[in-house]
């Protein structure tokens, strides 16, 4: 966990007071909606179909049990008893009242949570690997650098009015769990040939209306140069990024139009002017940040304790363990993913009661720490393997132990037309139907790893472009239709999926997905060839034929 200092606490509290005054002036009519809109957006407040939506940041996906309890409190006191975890390590409340928002923010501020820059044309919540600091083989904890960027970009005057929103993601592992290639700036911590630690910097990734995979602009930037280099990128974007057309305003369009070489040259010229400025990071700054992260006092524990050997006879426990328990860097410990994808449930939602219970379990079994992943699941990052059987029973009791992590029913979905004012079609009912179709655990296991992503409109909050199977809701003559893509992925081999054919109506989506999965099972070279690899090997044509032959 990261411990906020007095400066952080003052900043957050002052922001609450400022927003309280702004809301008061809005409700009295002193501020028009036109004047207020930007102010509310910079505090994570959108207007959705039924109410205001309040987006709260969970920087680099790390939460304390105290913070999760406070989110539960906000859900219960100010909303309708639940929250929705998003694909960018935020939580959203869908039914919040504007008049009560300052009180909700004040309650969150008491535990160091805020909603600053969770919307608007500024730098957004800095996201990272949800296993940061505990993943085996990690170069170092990327949250230290995430926190540096969080502090640097928060209320940065030069980057508060960018042409469009701007998103960072950081990973320090070979396997990318932070989707860095689909962010405006993606950072991969690695070692160069000399054994020095630094960042591969990618730029211009993004989804939405015009998807692009990020391109490497610089293979290696030393940590002490990170801020100056990042600022150079932002300056070039701020200067040349389009402000006349919202659909062409993201940095990905600028990088595409200029070309990565020309863009890199512009950045390099800017960087040379500021590289040795005050932005050069002194090692003591990083050490200070590092010292503010607390790490558990792990015990020396056996890898295979008796409790685990005994529980291995229970097939239900084993199914969950094999699916939801992952290796930890410390022997005797494990990372446990909590599925927020129950059969028939809305992906990513957690009730206040579940949040409270998870916070209690985190205190008991995970040193009081919880992680939020971009796949819309939670994780307990420090679980002793001897505690897995008893933890499993407790998680199962509160409905977050569905053994479907990374399987076909572990669906990423945006809120869609049930909540969102931008959506053209519903996402959640499609996801719910698919989880019912693939509810059988043995079948899901037979299928293996398969990511389905659903977005209710082209803005792609459900990251459909990078789903192994992507589903995009569109509107045709007032009816909901869905375009299907296959072959996308969001990891270190990120790719944008390929459209398989004409959009299909709402009622046929689940049938189409079943057809695609059946085609895969028939076409795969061997039982352990993953769906994504079969598509890569064969292309989309066999799947297209299967889906449209009878339609």
């Amino acid at each position: 966990m990261y411990a906020y200092d007095e400066l952080d606490r003052t900043l957050i509290n002052e922001r609450v007071s400022e927003f309280r005054d702004q809301v008061k002036r809005r409700l009295s009519g002193e501020l028009t909606e036109d004047e207020f809109k930007m102010l509310r957006l910079q505090n994570g407040v959108y207007l959705q179909l039924h109410a205001y939506m309040f987006r709260v940041a969970i920087p680099y996906g790390t939460l304390s049990s105290e913070q999760l309890r406070r989110l539960a409190h906000v859900a219960r006191r100010y909303d309708r008893g639940y929250g929705h975890f998003t694909t960018r390590q935020n939580i959203q409340f869908n039914w919040i009242k504007l008049a009560e928002l300052p009180d909700a923010l004040a309650d969150l501020a008491e535990v160091g949570i805020h909603a600053m820059q969770t919307s608007g044309n500024n730098t957004r919540n800095v996201t990272s690997d949800q296993w940061a600091g505990v993943a085996p083989g990690e170069i170092e904890d990327p949250r230290i650098w995430s926190e540096l960027l969080r502090q640097y970009t928060t209320l940065h005057p030069e980057f508060s009015f960018l042409p469009r929103k701007f998103k960072f993601a950081i990973t320090a592992s070979e396997h990318d769990r932070a989707a860095i290639k689909v962010h405006d700036i993606g950072l991969r911590l690695h070692r160069n040939a000399a054994g020095e630690t630094g960042f591969e910097v990618l730029v211009g990734g993004g989804l939405g209306r015009t998807p692009f995979i990020g391109k490497t602009i610089k293979p290696f930037v030393h940590g002490h140069d990170l801020l100056s280099y990042v600022e150079s990128i932002l300056r070039v974007y701020n200067q040349y990024g389009r402000r006349d057309n919202i659909y062409k305003a993201r940095i990905k369009i600028l990088v595409h139009e200029l070309g990565i070489e020309k863009f890199a040259q512009e950045v390099e010229e800017e960087w040379l002017q500021m590289r040795d400025s005050a932005l050069a990071i002194d090692g003591s700054v990083i050490e200070d940040l590092r010292s503010r992260f607390s790490y558990p006092a792990y015990e020396k524990l056996p890898h295979m304790p008796d409790e685990l050997k005994k529980a291995a006879h229970d097939p239900h426990f084993e199914a969950w363990r094999k699916n939801s328990v992952f290796p930890h860097k410390v022997p005797g410990y494990a990372i446990v993913t909590l599925s927020l994808k129950p059969v028939g449930g809305p992906p990513g939602d957690a009730t206040a009661d579940q949040m409270d219970a998870i916070a209690d379990l985190a205190d008991k079994y995970s040193f009081g720490e919880i992680r939020v992943g971009h796949e819309q699941n939670l994780a307990l990052p420090h679980v002793a393997r001897r505690d897995l059987p008893v933890l499993w029973k407790a998680l199962d009791k509160i409905g977050v132990a569905t053994p479907n992590v990374n399987l076909v029913s572990d669906i990423i979905a945006c809120p869609g037309l049930d909540y969102c004012s931008l959506a053209n079609a519903r996402s959640i009912p499609i996801a719910q139907e698919l989880t019912r179709r693939f509810a059988n655990h043995e079948t899901a296991n037979l299928i293996g790893r398969l990511h389905i992503n659903i977005s209710g409109c082209i803005n792609a909050c459900g990251h459909h472009h990078v789903g192994h199977i992507g589903i995009l809701g569109v509107e045709k003559n007032g009816e909901e239709f869905y375009q299907i893509t296959i072959g996308g992925r969001a990891d270190e081999k990120a790719e944008v999926g390929t459209l398989i054919g004409p959009a299909v109506p709402y009622a046929e989506v689940a049938d189409v997905i079943e057809d695609i999965v059946e085609a895969y099972l028939a076409l795969r070279a061997r039982p352990d060839e993953l769906f994504i690899d079969t598509v890569k090997r064969l292309g989309v044509e066999p799947f297209r034929e299967r889906v449209y032959a009878t339609r």
């Binding site: 809005r26 409700l27 009295s28 009519g29 028009t32 909606e33 207007l47 959705q48 179909l49 039924h50 109410a51 205001y52 309708r80 008893g81 639940y82 039914w95 919040i96 009242k97 504007l98 008049a99 449930g345 809305p346 939602d349 957690a350 009730t351 206040a352 037309l417 049930d418 909540y419 004012s421 931008l422 053209n424 519903r426 959640i428 009912p429 719910q432 509107e475 007032g478 909901e480």
Partner: protein, 105 residues
């Protein structure tokens, strides 16, 4: 279901109403013929020409304190005079989400 954000020109092809969200709490509201707002669709003022729609929208937008994001949306008028939402978006706004909420209301 064109997003209201993309609604540029005012041209209606059937019975329509003006809807918005109440400023202080975001609740869905409808402009009434008495120049006020109601959370009940059956109270909505119905317009049938583009000129009427423009006038109703202009009057609605003028209430910047009471309502946010006013726009024109289609309705269906049933035989008995019942007003029903004219598309799925408005159906969801009027009737609520089409799924069971994680915590029953």
């Amino acid at each position: 279901m064109t997003s209201p954000l993309e609604q540029k020109k005012i041209r209606i092809t059937g019975p329509s109403m003006v809807t918005a969200n109440r400023t202080w709490d975001g609740v869905v509201i409808y402009r009434t013929s008495k120049h006020g707002w109601s959370a009940d669709l059956s109270d909505a003022a119905i317009v049938r020409t583009s000129d009427e729609a423009r006038a109703l929208l202009t009057e609605s937008i003028a209430d910047d304190v009471g309502a946010i994001g006013a726009y024109i949306a289609p309705v269906e008028i049933k035989e008995a005079g019942e007003i029903r939402p004219g598309n799925l978006r408005e159906h969801i706004r009027s009737e609520g989400v089409t799924i069971d909420l994680p915590v029953p209301a």
